[in-house]
């Protein structure tokens, strides 16, 4: 310890901080580019399942989210609901939602749009199936069952 103290106590000059703004700006730009605004309030509980064979989406802005789960607000009941953007929706509103979203993109990349179903693990497949049928009807066939990666207990 003593040796460290000695070497630092040569003179009382402070560390040169003139490069600090550069570093901070660099961090700032990194976060501006790497993150996106938290644009929606999540109103349903979505504890997604854990699976092992996950894939990442390559282009985040090309993903439409459909959230399915029991409402967080207990006064809204406990039955699973669908959330599109930041409001509750019924199954028959899924088609309009997808079409509206699709029209925001140039035709060339419309085929690459993915729908991500972020559903709570307790949801029954009946509701998910209805959503899937709606997606098929508007020809939005790329689908992602949102899940976290991890070890699965189903493996011996």
């Amino acid at each position: 310890m003593a040796t460290f103290k000695k070497s630092n106590k040569k003179d009382g000059t402070a560390i040169n901080t003139s490069a600090l703004p550069d570093i901070v700006f660099m961090l700032l730009f990194f976060f501006m580019v790497a993150t996106k605004m938290r644009d929606k309030d999540v109103m349903v509980k979505t504890a997604v399942p854990v699976v092992s064979e996950v894939e990442k989406v390559e282009k985040k802005s090309w993903v439409n989210f459909i959230l399915v789960g029991p409402p967080l607000d207990a006064s809204k009941g406990t039955a699973p609901r669908i959330q599109l953007d930041d409001k509750f929706a019924e199954v028959d509103e899924v088609q309009d939602f997808i079409i509206l979203r699709r029209n925001e993109f140039p035709p060339a990349i419309r085929d690459y749009l993915t729908t991500s179903i972020k559903a709570d693990r307790t949801v029954r497949m009946g509701l998910i199936q209805d959503v899937k049928q709606e997606l098929r009807q508007v020809n939005s066939l790329k689908l992602l069952y949102s899940a976290n990666s991890g070890d699965v207990k189903t493996r011996r």
Partner: protein, 166 residues
């Protein structure tokens, strides 16, 4: 200067998210065109591995109750059978896995089953890649990868929903 930048930095840290979206990628079958109905499948029965998940999250594979732990092995046997066992596919290129579920199946179980099927395909592809090219599947160049995909095309059919009990 640094103060302002720090302020901005903290603002962005708080208001933005960085969660990358992960999950099981699935391709849905197109909506059937009423004027142009899909051809009736000529697939041989043995080429289809039927997986059924009921409302109690129980698994029925080819008419037999099965634990989910055994599903990957079963699927792999089906894919790599090459005609040996008459109960399974006679050719990996024609092999199909058909997944059916009830409306009451829990989403978690459905995704787990899907995951097992995907794992079976991934493992089979990887074994083939290691045998043939001495390399893991995800390290293969594009051409070789296509060849492996051609040998083991991922055909997981999500059947038209049937109501098999709530």
């Amino acid at each position: 200067m640094a103060d302002i930048a720090f302020l901005l930095l903290v603002f962005f840290l708080v208001t933005t998210t960085m969660d990358t979206d992960k999950g099981l990628r699935v391709k849905l079958p197109p909506w059937p065109d009423p004027n142009n109905p899909p051809p009736i499948s000529t697939q041989n029965n043995r080429n289809v591995l039927e997986v059924l998940v009921n409302a109690n999250d129980m698994l029925l594979v080819e008419g037999q109750l099965l634990d989910i732990e055994e599903l990957t092995e079963m699927t792999k046997t089906h894919l790599t059978n090459d005609g040996r066992d008459p109960r399974f596919a006679d050719n990996s290129k024609d092999a199909i896995v058909s997944l059916k579920n009830a409306r009451g199946t829990s989403y978690e179980r459905y995704v787990e089953v899907y995951n097992e099927l995907k794992r079976a395909y991934n493992e089979v592809r990887n074994e083939y890649a290691v045998n043939k090219f001495n390399r893991d599947y995800d390290q293969l160049p594009e051409d070789d990868r296509d060849e492996v995909q051609d040998k083991y095309p991922m055909k997981i059919s999500e059947a038209e929903p049937v109501d098999v009990g709530e």
